[in-house]
């Protein structure tokens, strides 16, 4: 458990904790480089938008097993749901520290605003985090030998999972819909009325790749035999989502600024191409080859390009796509070292948390049998 790697992660987490205490005492201005033209930065783009997209796998795999009854994926339900739960907890924590008045994080629950997209987003985060906790609870009940509670949770699991799938669909698309109100700021390369759908489909790609990624990692770390059949299935799913995503991306580009806009050589155009190549084109080309879908290392490599590409998309939408308009005022933004430390700390918490859970709870019930 206490490998040098884990120790490094724990050190980063401790440093991140100190930075967050500093942020609470001295405010956002002291800890971050955010300013009046860049009200949202690395924490929102990466930790919240990126983190929540990474957590999409929980809803997909739970839905596949409990709603579609694809029992093949049963062995990976637990790790997928647990990762999603961690992801949402971390995103909620990031939101807690990113909002100006953290102790008022409960306000949306009491002050309903059905005209506000941000209100829906905050309600989804609360509801879905709770739902994922319910979906992960069998692990805890097993450990504590609470058979009664376990039986009840297992009985209501199908409706709970369906509710979770619904929340996941609503939440992932609404994260994109947040930006519908920015037509006069955002580059037309990203701004479109299709942005909720683009966020939803890319979250499916991201979710499947994350589930596959962490399965390969943990099978290596804990010495399980990886389920090649499952990983190929996930890769196929990712390929289908990527093809649909590419078609929608091209449609949005062609009906918006025109295909040529992507090759204009500007900062935005280059970021767009980078995102498209890493997140969409490379995975489609590689995954369309059967040899890739059946090779552990190649699947792993594709997972990484998808994760990087879609993360880049979230940063492009929330930051780079609006950079030209926002910086015309003379203000600019590059994250402070404290912002980087906190983001690194969140990633570290996710890794360490997953290791601890895998060690002490039956995250991989099939692997033990």
């Amino acid at each position: 458990m206490w490998t040098p790697f884990t120790r490094t992660l724990v050190a980063i987490i401790a440093l991140g904790g100190l930075v967050l205490i500093y942020r609470l005492i001295f405010g956002l201005g002291a800890a971050t480089n955010l300013n009046d033209r860049f009200p949202w930065g690395l924490w929102i783009g990466m930790d919240v938008l990126g983190g929540e997209a990474m957590a999409a796998g929980g809803g997909i795999i739970a839905g596949a097993v409990y709603i579609l009854n694809w029992k093949k994926y049963k062995p990976i339900v637990r790790p997928a749901v647990l990762t999603a739960f961690f992801g949402y907890l971390l995103a909620a924590t990031a939101i807690f520290f990113d909002i100006g008045i953290p102790y008022r994080i409960w306000h949306p629950m009491a002050m309903w605003q059905v005209h506000s997209l941000m209100w829906f987003v905050s309600i989804y985060v609360m509801l879905y985090t709770t739902t994922l906790a319910a979906e992960s609870s069998p692990m805890i009940f097993e450990k504590l030998k609470m058979r009664g509670a376990l039986r009840i949770v297992e009985k209501i699991m199908v409706p709970v999972v369906l509710f979770g799938v619904l929340l996941s669909v609503l939440h992932q698309s609404s994260l994109g819909a947040v930006f519908l109100i920015t037509p006069s700021r955002m580059s037309p390369l990203w701004y479109s009325d299709q942005i909720p759908m683009l966020f939803l489909i890319s979250a499916i790609m991201m979710g499947l790749s994350m589930v596959s990624f962490e399965n390969i990692i943990s099978s290596k770390a804990f010495g399980h035999k990886p389920h090649m059949e499952i990983l190929s299935g996930l890769a196929r799913g990712c390929l289908i989502a990527a093809v649909v995503y590419l078609a929608l991306k091209i449609y949005v580009l062609a009906t918006g600024p025109g295909i040529a806009a992507a090759f204009a050589g500007s900062m935005e155009a280059n970021m767009y191409l980078l995102e498209l190549m890493a997140g969409v084109l490379a995975p489609i080309i590689l995954l369309s080859m059967k040899s890739t879908r059946e090779n552990l290392n190649r699947i792993f490599a594709v997972n990484i390009t998808v994760i990087v590409g879609i993360l880049l998309n979230r940063m492009n939408v929330s930051l780079f796509g609006m950079y030209r308009h926002q910086s015309a005022s003379g203000l600019s933004y590059f994250p402070s070292w404290m912002e980087f430390v906190v983001t690194a700390a969140f990633i570290s918490i996710a890794v360490v948390g997953f290791k601890v859970a895998a060690k002490y709870f039956r995250v991989f019930p099939e692997a033990e049998a």
Binding site: G27, P39, W70
Partner: protein, 268 residues
Amino acid sequence: MTATEKKSKGVLVDLTRCIGCRGCQIACKSWNERSVKKTVMRGEFTNPPELNSECYTNIRYSEHEKGDQPVWSFVKNQCLHCKSPACVSACPVGALRKTEAGPVVYDFNRCIGCRYCMLACPFDIPKYEWEKAFPWIRKCTFCSERIADGKVPACIKVCPTTTMFYGNLEAVMAEAEKRLKGNPDKYVKHIYGKEEAGGTSWIYLSAEPFDTLGFNMKISNVKYPDLTWAYISKIPSVVGVVIIAGALTWAITRRQNAEKGDKHENKS
């Protein structure tokens, strides 16, 4: 025009009358008890260069040439108090509100500090108290308390050249149309704020093209809250479709699996 809009106040800023004295900037600071932020020499007169949490209004100076003569233009810059404000629709806790009298006002006691209003506002108006541990969103209040007392806003009160025409929104728009029609050679043929973002309570007339004065011409004429409402209004159907399709899928696939399971058992 609705009944509420008839009661609602508005302002016409006739930029041809502004002499750039910045009296409004001082009056605003003094009425709203704002302090100052240190700025640096940048070789231009606009100061501070942008609105900030301590500065709700400023005069933007721009110099151009007409013939061989230098010409100065002065633009009073502040919240436009949209008729359908993007910031109000964006706020998840109702901290921003469009009042019947016209001002878009802010209630700190509700605000969680998500800063979505700053991103939503097409005019880049809401500013944040970044340096504070418990920051407020800050912006022009249209002197809502003065209006409630039957007084005119502080900036308008001190203006020595009657640059700002204040009154009921309807009368303000009629005055703008009248001036534009009466002096077609004096003004560019556009009332900024008549259509922008679905219409604003503060509107502008100018002798110079608006884009040369730093006005954002990319602002769409739609009501900004409609952009997100287009998505929100679909949520009930998404809920219905996902629940029904999900339940049906579950029922069908479970039966298929059970049948498959039976065959397996029969074989073995």
